[in-house]
Amino acid sequence: MQDVVLALLAKEPSHGYELRQRLRAALGPLGDTLNSGQVYVTLTRLEKAGLVSSARTGGRPDRPDRKVYDLTAAGHRRVADWLAEVSWTPRPELAEFHLKLAAARAARLADPLTLIDAHRRELMRRLRDAQRAALAEADGSMAGLLLEGVVLRLRADLRWLESCERVWSGHGERS
């Protein structure tokens, strides 16, 4: 979240509520789940870390929030680093689930196929939520684009569960 807020601030010195508006534009309905205080908490942390500076302005009487935030030189460098960085998050939960199945099987604690079924149902529930949200978006919307990514990841996980099921059901027959 810190990098996101910094990057949103790179456009121009801004009020906290302007950053929230930019987040909302990019996230659509997904942005509703962000705590509105989260941006301010993050800004405070960034200021303490010397990445952001703030100045009080006269502001408008209808806006209680009079602070304008700006990137410091260190903040600009961090944004540049963040943009250049290629982040691909490994998914520890895959290895964890894989090992869970192996351990459950070895100790005869649970049937791997039952665990796979439970997992698949949960992923289907999440896919349903994501796909329903995607259907509510107009084609080409920013939020729709993000949701497409969420949907693709869930589909990949569901396909991997199919492979798990195929292999573990084979193991069941042999033992």
């Binding site: 979240m1 997904l30 149902r121 796909q131 259907l135 497409e148 969420v150 949907v151 569901l158």
Partner: protein
Amino acid sequence: MTGGTLAIRARGLSKVHGEGQARTRAVDEVDLDVPAGQTLAVTGPSGCGKSTLLHLLGGLERVSAGELWLAGRRIDRLGERALARLRRRAIGFVFQDFHLMEELSAVQNVELPALLAGRTPRTARRRALDLLDRVGLADRAQRLPAQLSGGQRQRVAIARALSNAPLAVLADEPTGNLDTAATNDVLRLFDSLRSTGQTLVIVTHDERVAATADRVVSMRDGRFVDDVHLPAASTGGLGDLLGLGG
């Protein structure tokens, strides 16, 4: 079970292909109740029997054994002519590759089943135009299939499937040839059909299609191995899909 009527009911439904050593049970003693108005997705790996099941339900293939009812009427013993008539009037089919008549315009494709069912050209045309409007293609009525995108062609095919107000629409991989935007269009259309109480059975590899159905059955080797009813409304926030933390 009481309440709504069953659109489809099957008991011990089986389809055997081949003979002797080559004999396989594509569909193996399947029991299935589909209440009217339900959207049912059937998933499973290639060769699991899901397409054959759909063909049996729609009378495209003959049942080897078992009993099958459509809206309370036993149909597994119908003669060829009665079955063909039933297919034309009571079932709407949607296929992966659309199966539109290339030399006919969109509206001519959509009105064809109504004409075959004996409606007057006037009635058939009016209904076809209504249906094209419903699938968002009123302005494409005179186009030939070749002049439409894949998603538009599939929406024409869905309109055609609705031509005779079928008891059930049976769809075989309806999004198999479509990109994400067109898939979403088709899923939105299925949602609107569901809201009118249309019964839908969709065979699909596509997890997105399955996830938006009311119920998902998984097939392996001709049998049902899982049967899940999905909650109607979203149960969790969308936030846990993102994992954006502080």
